[in-house]
Amino acid sequence: MQSSQVSQVSQVVPSDPSVDLDQVKSIIQEYQAMPGAMLPVLHAIQDALGYVPASVVPLIADQLNLSRAEVHGVISFYHHFRQQPAGSHIVQLCRAEACQAVGAEALATHAKAALGCDFHGTSSDGQFTLEPVYCLGQCACGPNMQIDDDLYARVSNDKFNKLVRAKRGAQ
């Protein structure tokens, strides 16, 4: 019963046939003994796959002895977890007050125009996903942004362009 459910759900995610459910299963097994294993499991899945596909929800529910609704509820509650694949690079722009005070809104307008997408969107070439973030903790040197794992402070429009160009070039 359980396995047929899994395959059914997998089939309704045609955009992502590459999800290796065995890999996901072994990730879950690695963490499931931890007290409160849910977040560590979801982080590990997202780190491995880039997002948390809908097809893994029944697996997590089964392994952690929860309902699928509970698992989906957790995934959708936290901004960090994405339910769709992202672009090759994730650009996080801080929108919080300290960065606002030094021009974060103008930078956000520039970034949206430069990448041709809104927040939570991906540039048409699939290279960059633009995400808002509410504070990167570098508040004395805003506006701040992060591309993948790298932090950047005092980001001007020019600096933004250079960084994005460098990431494109590095492809």
Binding site: P35, M38, V74, F77, Y78, H79, C99, A101
Partner: protein, 518 residues
């Protein structure tokens, strides 16, 4: 620390990294190699003077000489100027500890930050590290709790509840399992002191938590770190491995009968998880939804067990309290706000950074004497103290003393000590709208005033901006509902920035309406 040649410090703090510290360190190593100079580069924490980052320090006979802000292109010139011997250069700052910004501070919690290699236990021990735990091991649990109680330490996360009372409640609770949880979900914009402790002096937090564990009889602890702080997570994990290997954590700590196991857990980008009960839900693997209190976490906390849950700075203040005694600590501060508060100058500020002072300095001293006014050179128009839930304060309130009660008396709150500065280009109606928008994005959704009220708040402010000035009374009414009807601080304090904008800067609401009408 075994060092060869001259020691050069280049910070590893993430703000320094965001300003290119890794590139500077690499350039220094390469240039030294090219010139056949023997040096040892140590990656220290940041001194918290962020306008000078990357701040490179060289150890000389006279002391540590600073150069900053250094860019990779400056490195060859620094070598030409003989910076390894403290030579003159346009970026030279002299002895770092003599820089007035640093010299005027009273650094108790941040005493080591920027000086030591954060991941070196040896360095930590050489700078009074673990003196607090060693003393605690000679005391009974009740005596440790008493020491913290007498120090007057209040929760530095924002709520300012006496830490010793929390601990006493957990000590008195009967349970086979108790927990110590560190709230490291530092989500307030304009704050970074928790981040600096975790990245730049992680053993201090570990020591504070270990002392808390001894004090209440807990054997397991978690540090819940927000996902936006990857560098802090790496530093903490490395420090925990080291502490375990040297018996500062684990079974029978330092040969005593006490055991304490510590683990880092990563948040997932939810501001509300900084609220302690939402954080506990999240640690348990659930949505970060606020719990109704009572029961208090001290009685029924993580997994239903008695739990001490404290902010990073609260726990990081404990080692020095134990090492030097409650009397030493409470000698700082004023009234019922005792000890020091690491304040963070942020936003549009010339000299942004970390300033640890005893309670009692005025906001104006912080903004002008330390901060040097705005970075843009324009007048300061508004200051938000205490994060996104703190009110906006006008110039007329800048003489308020940084003290929990003095701030409360003017309708403000110190919160976690973040001070965000705005110059005269700020549109306060937009800031009010943002406060509501942020609440709508980050509300956990459990209570209606917060979940629905924030969305209605955005709509009403939009109407006011579109010229419907009569809607202001509706906005005030809505704020009243949120203040009095919300379950936690998220909903009940979001109105503070909104109302303060209305009260202190009414012209921005009228003018945006007038602009639209024109």
């Amino acid at each position: 620390m075994s060092t060869a040649g001259i020691t050069v410090y280049v910070p590893r703090d993430s703000t320094a990294l965001a300003l290119g510290a890794n590139e500077v360190a690499a350039a220094i190593v390469a240039e030294a190699g090219k010139r056949g100079q023997e040096i040892t580069v140590v990656r220290n924490g940041s001194r918290g003077m962020f306008w000078l980052e990357p701040l490179v320090e060289v150890v000389t006979a006279a002391g540590r000489i600073g150069y900053g802000p250094v860019e990779p292109d400056d490195v060859a010139g620094l070598f030409d100027a003989g910076f390894l011997a403290g030579g003159q250069h346009r970026l030279a700052l002299g002895l770092v500890e003599e820089i007035p910004y640093l010299k005027k501070q009273e650094r108790l919690t941040f005493a080591r930050v920027g000086i030591t290699d954060p991941l070196s236990l040896e360095d930590y021990l050489a700078h009074e590290g673990y003196a607090g735990l060693r003393r605690a091991l000679t005391l009974s649990s009740a005596e440790v709790v008493q020491e913290v109680l007498e120090s007057g330490l209040r929760g530095r996360g924002g709520a300012a509840f006496p830490t010793g009372i929390k601990w006493k409640t957990v000590l008195g609770a009967q349970s086979a399992q108790k927990y110590i949880v560190c709230n490291a979900d530092e989500g307030d914009s304009g704050t970074f002191s928790d981040r600096m402790v975790m990245e730049d002096d992680p053993f201090m937090l570990i020591e504070g938590m270990t002392i808390a564990a001894l004090a209440v009889g807990a054997t397991r602890g978690y540090i819940y770190v927000r996902s936006e702080y990857p560098h802090a997570i790496v530093a903490l994990n490395q420090a925990i491995v080291t502490a375990n290997s040297q018996n500062y954590l684990g079974e029978n700590i330092l040969g005593s009968s006490h055991s304490f196991h510590l683990e880092v857990r990563k948040g997932a980008g939810a501001y509300i998880c900084g609220e302690e009960t939402a954080l506990l839900e999240s640690l348990e693997g659930k949505r970060g939804v606020v719990r109704a209190k009572p029961p208090l976490p001290a009685i029924e906390g993580l997994f239903g067990k008695p739990t001490v849950i404290n902010n990073v700075i609260s726990l990081a203040s404990v080692p020095i309290i134990l090492a030097r005694g409650a009397a030493f600590y409470k000698n700082y501060g004023m009234g019922r706000s005792l000890g020091t508060l690491p304040m963070q100058l942020a936003g549009n500020i010339k000299y942004g950074g970390l300033v640890e002072k005893a309670f009692g300095v005025t906001l104006r001293e912080m903004l002008l004497d330390f901060g040097g006014g705005t970075a843009s050179g324009k007048p300061i128009r508004a200051v938000q103290v205490g994060g996104p839930l703190g009110p906006y304060l006008p110039e007329s309130l800048f003489d308020t003393k940084l003290d929990y009660e003095a701030f409360a008396a003017v309708g403000g709150m110190l919160g976690h000590g973040g001070i965000v500065v705005f110059d005269d280009s700020v549109d306060m109606a937009r800031q009010a709208r943002y406060a509501m928008e942020f609440c709508a994005v980050e509300s956990c959704g459990k209570c209606t005033p917060c979940r629905i009220g924030s969305t209605r708040g955005v709509e009403v402010i939009d109407k006011i901006a579109a010229g419907q000035v009569h809607e202001i009374h509706l906005l005030r009414d809505l704020c009243d509902t949120m203040i009095n009807g919300s379950l936690c601080a998220m909903g009940s304090m979001t109105p503070l920035p909104v109302l303060s904008a209305l009260d202190h800067f009414p012209e921005d609401f009228a003018s945006s309406a007038a602009d639209k009408a024109a």
